[in-house]
């Protein structure tokens, strides 16, 4: 089953999210109040490791396990990055969780967060419904 490796990767990612406490509402509050370095350290060091990895991939022209050339999808700027980003930020500070942590929180033993996740799916659906009327 070709998707099994992604299931395992996801499980490892979920474990890291819980153990480094980035799924904690309290950690997100600390971050937005500038009262702890924890979240900045996590995101900052993740970006540094990601950047070095991507640089190495390009520098040595590394290939995927199937032998394909690695392609990094380009993100085109839209005003959605701004408006959507602000809206997500508002929600992030309320729920204390971005989409990855929502899944991890449910698994960690907080089934009520499934309601938050369903609501996030509804938010995504409503975006799909009205997107042609929104500035991008």
């Amino acid at each position: 089953m070709k998707n099994l490796k992604y299931l395992i990767a996801g499980a490892l990612f979920g474990i890291v999210l819980v153990k480094s406490e980035v799924i904690s509402w309290f950690r997100i509050q600390e971050m937005f109040r500038f009262q702890a370095f924890h979240m900045y350290g996590v995101i900052g060091s993740a970006v540094v490791v990601g950047m070095i990895s991507v640089w190495l991939i390009k520098r040595f022209n590394l290939r995927s396990v199937n032998g394909e050339t690695i392609v990094i999808p380009k993100k085109e700027f839209t005003w959605g990055n701004v408006y959507g980003g602000l809206i997500f930020g508002l929600g992030w500070a309320i729920t204390g969780a971005c989409p990855g942590p929502l899944f991890a929180l449910i698994g960690s033993g907080l089934p009520v967060i499934a309601i938050t996740l369903l609501s996030a799916v509804a938010g995504t659906w409503v975006y799909g419904l009205v997107r042609n009327h929104l500035p991008h």
Partner: protein
């Protein structure tokens, strides 16, 4: 094993999270990101003839396996690796939250706000339902979330992701400093 049961410091968790960027690229040329899964769930369950959801979501099914894995990992860490414990936050933050009416500091989230019982109160509804809606709407409008933009996008030096990340922070700061104190008192 003892280490697995302790909370991990940022310099362990952060670099491990960063490794998912190359891991997914090596595994099958996949761009690290979580919020797309919400779109695929819409396309799979309720496409409703909306053009945005008319695509072959099965081609992106790896992402659904990835988030199912996150759920499992949450269970493993939360239930088997002692993940449910009070979070050792800055005492100033705790004090401020107490002044704003937060009472439960015993777990990853304050359960006096996030619980099925609270869902039927105005405050619980705002935090559990409205918050989730903003997360889902905002991430799709922004074209990604903390993982897709802040980690994958910044790692690959894409300036639109830097713009998005700054806006995530601005939105979060406005909510935390200007609006949240009122929402907590609801």
């Amino acid at each position: 094993m003892e280490f697995l049961k302790q909370p991990w410091p940022w310099y362990v968790g952060g670099p491990l999270i960063g490794l998912f960027v190359p891991a997914l690229l090596f595994a099958g040329n996949k761009a690290f990101g979580v919020s797309s899964s919400l779109k695929h769930i819409c396309a799979m369950c309720v496409p409703a003839d909306i053009s945005f959801f008319k695509y072959d979501w099965k081609k992106e099914s790896w992402n659904l396996f990835f988030v199912a894995g996150i759920l499992m990992g949450g269970f493993i860490a939360g239930q088997l690796l002692n993940g449910q414990h009070p979070v050792d936050i800055n005492s100033h933050t705790a004090e401020l939250l107490k002044q704003n009416g937060v009472k439960d500091f015993g777990g990853l989230v304050p359960q006096d706000i996030f619980s099925f019982h609270q869902l039927l109160t105005l405050r619980g509804f705002v935090f559990i339902v409205t918050g989730g809606f903003l997360v889902g709407f905002g991430t799709r409008y922004a074209g990604g979330c903390t993982s897709g933009h802040s980690i994958m996008g910044l790692s690959t030096l894409q300036w639109p992701s830097l713009v998005a990340t700054c806006c995530f922070m601005i939105g979060g700061l406005v909510m935390t400093w200007l609006i949240l104190p009122y929402l907590l008192q609801l």
